[in-house]
Symmetry: C2
Subunit: 205 residues, 2 copies
Amino acid sequence: MGNELPKVGQEPARRAALVSATISEIGQAGSLDVTVGQIAKRAGMSPALAHYYFATKDAIFLAAMRHILTEFGLLVRAGTARARTPSERLNAIIDASLSSEQFADEIVAAWLVFYVQAQRSPEAARLLRVYARRLHSNLMHSLTALVSRSHAHSIAEGMASMIDGIYIRHALQDSAPDRPRARALVRDYLRLTVAEAGARLDPTH
Amino acid sequence: MGNELPKVGQEPARRAALVSATISEIGQAGSLDVTVGQIAKRAGMSPALAHYYFATKDAIFLAAMRHILTEFGLLVRAGTARARTPSERLNAIIDASLSSEQFADEIVAAWLVFYVQAQRSPEAARLLRVYARRLHSNLMHSLTALVSRSHAHSIAEGMASMIDGIYIRHALQDSAPDRPRARALVRDYLRLTVAEAGARLDPTH
DNA sequence: TTTTCCTGATTGATCAGTCAATAAAAAACC
DNA sequence: GGTTTTTTATTGACTGATCAATCAGGAAAA
C-alpha cells in the first residue's frame, strides 16, 4: 500500500507552536485549566486547527510534557558528556536539574502541574516514572563508583527528593532557595553522605 | 445588633462532613476536578445544601486545606511538647511531617493538589506560606541551639525541601521511599549537616 | 411565626470536539 | 503544458455535555 505522502510541511511547525503555547499557558495559569482556545490563540491558529493536529486536549498536554522531559534529558546528557570523573558527573546532573532553563517559572509551574496530572493520567504517570527512573539510574551509575550499592541507593533517593522539593518550593515563590543556594544545598548533601559512607576513591571498578 | 441566633446545630457537622468528603474526593480523583455534586453526595447531602453552607466551591477547597494544615499543626505541637532537647524536638518535627496520617495517600494527593492551587489562588498561597514559614521557624528555633544562624538557615531549607520532595515522590507512588526510610533519610541529613557545622552541644543558650 | 435546614428544578456559561466548506498546493492524468 | 483530482491546511459555526450557582418552595424546630 501507501507510498510516502507528500508533505507541505506545516505540521511540525504547528505542533511545536502548540506545545510551546501549552507550556506558556499552563505556566501562566498555574494549572491545567487552560482551554484549547487559549492555547490555539497563543499559537496563532484557530481551536479547530489545534484539534486537527492533536486528537484531544490530553494529547496536547502529553506532547508538552514529553517536550519538557526531552529537553531535560538533553541537558543532562550535554552536561555529563563533558564530565570525566564520577564526582564531576554527579555535579553535572545536579547542575542540569537546577539549570536556569529548568528553573524558569513557566517550566517549574508546568512540572508541578504535570505531577498532579500524573495522578490521573496513566500515560503522564508513565512519562514521569521514566524521568524518575533515569535520574535514579544516572545517579546510581556514578555513586556506585564511590560508595556501596545500598549507600548509593539512599543517597540517590535523598538527592532526588531534595531536588524535587526545591522545585515545589520554588513554584511557591516565597522562601525558596535561589539557584546557587539550591545547588550548594544538594552538593553539600552529596559530599557529606558520600564522605560518611566511606569514600573508596579507587577507580578499580 | 443581632442577638445570638438560635442554632439547631447541624452546621458544624455538615461543614465537617463536606471538608472530609472534599479531601477524599480530591485524593481519589488526584485533582481539583471534582464537582460540588460529587462532594455533596459523599457527604450525604444535596449539592444545593453544600452551597448553603459554603458560598462557592473555592470556599470548600480552602476549608479543606485549612483543615489539613490545622491537623498538621496539631501533630507537630503534640510531638514537640514531649521533646526535651533541641535534638528531640527536631526529630519530633520530622516524625510529624512524615507521620502515617500525613502519609495517607489521600492526604498526600490533596497536598499536591493544593500546591498547584496555590499558584492561582492567593488565599491558598497564603495558607501554604503560613505552613512553610511555621515549619521553617520551628526548625530554626531548635537548630540555632545547635549551630550558627546561617548554618541553621541552610539546614532548615534542606530539610524542608527534602520532606516536600519525599511527598511529591510518594504521590507518584513508584520509587518513593517508604515511611521509615524517609525518616532515616531526613534524620541522616540533619545529623550530618549539624555535625559538620560544628556542633556545640552546650546548653548555655 | 421566625429561623434554620433542606431539596428538586432551573439557568447560564463554558468548552471539547465535530463538521461542512474553502483554498491552495501537489500529483496524476491526458 | 494544461486540466483534473487528491491531499493538506484552515476556519467559522455548531452541538452536546457538564456544572457552579440560584431560587422558589417546603418542613421541622424554637
